[in-house]
């Protein structure tokens, strides 16, 4: 007999809503007249995200937490719901950045007609007619749905499906830049090819782990691993699945796509991707390693430790030599992955442990990176955004407020006290040191010093260096973008000064459950 699985719709409706809005967006794209599409898509996406966010908060506050639903495919627990909420918050801010049309003569940052080859008459026609892609909103919503599923996946299949659902739209969005299209398309191709490989490797590892445990469920894998931890099938599976995860998070040696994609993608996409993807990927990674492979900590901790050390050192060192602000932030994202991996080395506790530390770090980093890239999109020259750091010189004199806000984000990423980044850094270091990982923490402190250098150098450039002739100027954005930047800055400072409520929320949320 076949029994249909019970599904707790009360706890997963926010995910379904986001995916539903994505489908509705496709319908709008097909049937609404061109003139109405932009407004329709933006309001649909915003409304969907707001409703989903409200729903996620309700689920988190309600009594429905800690259930496993759909035959264990989805596990609605505290950390999972927290990361879902975080993904939604960041995405909500990003929609505002996606919809920004004031910076570039009334058109969005996305290519008028993606299918038109760069430099052809088709492209010129498209841009003369003021065409713009509004498919980006449904694409984004699909990815958001995937990310939300990734955060709460309780079995291997759901993990893989969610990974693909979130990845495919990202590849597409990366290639849709209106300006510097070749760079954008190159980045998209790189991202896609490497991503496809890593998905394949991940899938192979997944199959091996299934072969070992005879079950897709993370909890059951955890039990099987606790019973027999030395099976080569399992160890190989852990390694291969780790590769897939580390690719998504941008850890060395699987980081090479990060700077290219960060630079090539339209800046709002970079802002969103750098924040949201990292949140979802780390939430899934934490769950995978604690729930399924928790018993194998002695095996994976040293390996992840080595990866963390390499990631921090390489990310921070390469960021120093970058001359393009987006590439610099790309390598800085790599370094931050290293710090997050340091936090992963700790143990799950009821008090302030690894899970809480990593999730807080993601919160801090999410706001800082969203705000930083939003500001990058404002700093422009005659040919669009100015990435070259030399041309940012003197920005602190011409636009003190914008430069000061950018400085706040940089200082938070550098981990200075009274910003959210400091508490985040403190947390991941404390988690790792509590587990006796002092060599990694020592390297982390060393890398932080290197990292501070390139963040501070940008501040120095903005405030203490004289502007050049072709210096970039700051365009006035729409209110939505300004609000996103302002809120990110406020959140960055508030989380640094009074992190107590969020920390307590995380402690109350508890650990991951099987």
């Amino acid at each position: 007999m076949f029994e249909s699985p019970g599904i707790s719709y009360a706890t997963i409706w926010p995910v379904l809503l986001v995916l539903g809005v994505a489908c509705a967006g496709v319908v709008v794209e097909a049937f609404a007249p061109r003139a109405a599409r932009f407004n329709a898509q933006v309001s649909l996406a915003l409304a969907g995200l707001v409703a989903a966010l409200a729903g996620t908060v309700a689920v988190g506050a309600g009594s429905g937490l800690g259930v496993s639903t759909g035959e264990g495919a989805l596990v609605i627990d505290g950390p999972g719901v927290f990361s879902q909420g975080l993904v939604l918050l960041v995405s909500l801010g990003s929609v505002a950045l996606f919809a920004e049309r004031r910076l570039d003569n009334g058109v969005s940052v996305f290519a008028g007609q993606a299918a038109a080859l760069p430099g052809t008459s088709a492209e010129r026609t498209a841009s003369q007619r003021g065409l713009e892609h509004t498919e980006v909103y449904p694409l984004m919503m699909f990815a958001v749905g995937g990310m939300m599923l990734f955060c709460v996946s309780g079995d291997l299949l759901m993990l893989f499906v969610a990974l693909e659902v979130l990845s495919l739209p990202l590849y597409l969005l990366t290639g849709l830049a209106r300006r510097r299209r070749l760079l954008s398309q190159e980045a998209a191709l790189k991202y896609f090819l490497l991503g496809a490989f890593s998905s394949g490797i991940f899938l192979y590892g997944l199959a091996l782990v299934y072969g070992f445990a005879g079950s897709m469920s993370l909890a059951e894998i955890g039990e099987a691993a606790a019973a027999d931890g030395s099976s080569p099938l399992l160890l190989l599976g852990i390694g291969l699945m780790a590769v897939g995860m580390l690719f998504k998070t941008g850890a060395v040696p699987f980081h090479s796509w990060t700077p290219d994609v960060y630079q090539g993608a339209p800046t709002p996409v970079t802002a969103w991707m750098s924040a949201a993807t990292k949140i979802a990927a780390f939430a899934a990674m934490l769950r995978l390693f604690y729930v399924a492979f928790g018993a194998e900590g002695d095996i994976w901790r040293p390996a992840i430790g080595v990866v963390a050390v390499l990631t921090m050192l390489l990310g921070a060192s390469f960021a120093i030599v970058q001359s393009d602000v987006k590439r610099m932030l790309g390598y800085s994202a790599v370094a931050h992955t290293g710090f997050l991996l340091t936090g992963l080395l700790g143990v799950q506790t009821d008090a302030f442990g690894s899970t809480q530390a990593v999730l807080f770090y993601l919160t801090a980093y999410g706001f800082a990176t969203l705000g930083a890239f939003a500001i990058v999109s404002l700093v422009r020259g005659p040919n669009g955004e100015v990435g070259s750091l030399d041309r940012w010189a003197g920005l602190g004199r011409t636009n003190p407020w914008v430069a000061a806000t950018f400085a706040v984000f940089l200082l938070s990423m550098a981990g200075l006290p009274l910003t959210a980044g400091f508490i985040g850094k403190w947390g991941v270091f404390a988690a790792a040191l509590g587990a006796g990982q002092w060599p990694v923490v020592a390297v982390a402190i060393g890398s932080s010093i290197i990292a501070i250098f390139f963040y501070v150098r940008v501040i120095m450039l903005m405030f203490f260096t004289d502007a050049r002739e072709d210096a970039a100027t700051v365009s006035t954005p729409s209110y939505a973008t300004s609000v996103v930047i302002a809120l990110s800055a406020v959140a960055t400072v508030l989380l640094g000064v009074i992190p107590g409520p969020v920390l307590s929320l995380l402690v109350d949320a508890g650990g991951f459950i099987g």
């Binding site: 008090a351 200075l416 006290p417 501070i452 501070v456 995380l506």
Partner: protein, 474 residues
């Protein structure tokens, strides 16, 4: 109440930054208000203790003991004075940053919670960075970056110690960052030593000590003299303050373990700093390097860990703050007149500017430890403790007095004596504003030279328990 003492200058910084009209006057008003608040809180200030970040065991806990009082006094007096000195060639941004710096510096001296101390310790760097970077010599941006990198590097090492305390404290039960709770912790020997090393590195960069002193001379050379006063006389004191409060206070056994190495570093700083100072042509580098020598003596007094040594070190911190502030400000006045800090391009100023020469001599001799001026008292106490520790240490440390006399008097001789440079036009003597800035400092130098008792009685109760713990350990 103590919170208010921190909030007044902080609010002042924000208001000064946005005030369109007469921002400097506003800033000065806030500095005076802070001075008054500082004086009031010295007599009537209950400790503050509120839970700040519960999961981390962080409390907003402030208290002011005798040591804290002295440092607070030094800070709240110096800030308004340098504001008067800075009025001509600094804009409102500098004033806002100066108030922010004052707020965070006061917070470090008042913090009864290690986390709060750390936050303030790091937060002082941002105003300091902008103060160096926005006003000063042609290479100021570079100097500011060097300063910040050294300080943040030290700060991150301190972060390691901070986290170490958290780990030990949570293993022992509920985490708490209250310094009084941390002092009760039973830390294993190895962990304690690592924590000590991390804290000492951070404070050695701050103070500074050889071999992490290289930022000091570059910074004082490029920064304006009011900035240097706040950096060397207030901010650097946090380093030696931390050595006493946190190294000796929290990890006394590890401090005793490391004492030989620290003493050697202190001796090198004393002699090396003084010798370098003698060889300087840039007056501002010279004063910066004399401070390296003085911080060596302070550290020596701290780690000799006798009653005289510690009291002497605490007094030294106050007296050095006053004397060096006077030196920097006088040097600044001199440089605004001559347009250069190069000693070799000055000569025979004695006749044209007798007041300037006189104040320079008094402040200089105070720095050199002339009896009757305040620094002498503290220097002699530190030297006694050095002899107590080992006669050889004492002998080497005493050379500091000789070398100090050389760098002060030789600098005086080169700048002020000899034939006047009439061809370069007349040089004004100090005006009333400048004299007004210096008078309180010089009065303090004389007063505490003859009546050091108030300082000693403030410092003694703080020193007593530390010495008891250390002697119990031996």
């Amino acid at each position: 109440m103590l919170t208010l003492l921190v909030l007044i200058p902080f609010a002042g910084a924000l208001i000064t930054a946005v005030m369109p009209a007469r921002p400097k006057l506003w800033a000065f008003g806030f500095a005076i208000a802070t001075l008054i608040a500082g004086l009031v809180t010295m007599f009537t200030a209950p400790d503050t203790d509120l839970v700040w970040m519960e999961p981390l065991g962080v409390h907003w806990a402030l208290e002011m003991d005798g040591f804290g009082k002295l440092m607070v006094l030094l800070t709240v007096v110096l800030v308004p004075l340098v504001m008067v000195a800075a009025v001509k060639d600094h804009d409102k941004r500098w004033y806002a940053w100066a108030l922010a710096l004052e707020a965070f510096a006061l917070l470090t001296f008042l913090a009864a919670d290690l986390f709060v101390f750390y936050i303030a310790f790091e937060a002082t760097l941002i105003p300091a960075y902008f103060m160096i970077g926005q006003h000063g010599g042609p290479n100021r941006a570079k100097a500011a970056l060097k300063f910040l990198m050294f300080q943040l590097g030290g700060g991150l090492v301190l972060l390691g110690a901070l986290i170490g305390f958290f780990v030990v404290s949570s293993e022992a039960g509920a985490p708490s960052y209250l310094i009084s709770d941390l002092a009760q912790l039973d830390i294993g020997t190895t962990a304690e030593r690592w924590i000590f090393v991390a804290m000492f590195i951070a404070f050695a960069v701050k103070a500074p000590l050889f071999p992490v002193h290289t930022w000091l001379a570059d910074t004082t050379e490029q920064a304006t003299t009011p900035t240097s006063v706040l950096l060397v006389c207030v901010l650097d004191k946090i380093g030696t303050f931390g050595m006493i409060r946190l190294c000796l206070g929290l990890v006394p056994e590890a401090s005793a373990w490391a004492t030989p190495v620290v003493i050697v570093l202190a001796l090198i700083s004393i002699v090396y700093g003084a010798v370098l100072a003698i060889g300087q042509d840039d007056l501002l580098r010279l004063i910066g390097l004399t401070s390296l020598s003085h911080f060596g003596l302070i550290t020596l007094g701290i780690f000799a860990a006798t009653r005289e040594g510690l009291v002497g070190a605490i007094l030294y911190m106050v007296n050095h703050g006053v004397a060096t502030a006077a030196m920097f400000l006088i040097a600044g006045f001199l440089i605004t007149r001559k347009g250069t800090a190069s000693i070799s391009s000055m000569r025979g100023l004695e006749k044209a500017t007798p007041v300037l020469a006189g104040t320079f001599l008094i402040a200089g001799l105070a720095t050199a430890g002339l009896p009757g001026l305040s620094q002498f008292v503290s220097e002699i106490m530190v030297l006694i403790s050095a002899f107590d520790y080992h006669w050889l240490v004492g002998v080497i440390a005493v050379t500091a007095i000789v070398l100090a006399a050389i760098y002060v008097l030789w600098a005086y001789q080169r700048i002020f004596t000899g034939p006047a440079q009439l061809s370069r036009g007349p040089v004004r003597d100090l005006d009333r504003r400048e004299v007004g800035v210096l008078v309180p400092l010089l009065v303090a130098l004389f007063f505490f030279g003859f009546v050091p008792a108030p300082l000693i009685s403030a410092a003694s109760p703080v020193v007593e328990p530390l010495v008891n713990v250390i002697q119990a350990g031996e």
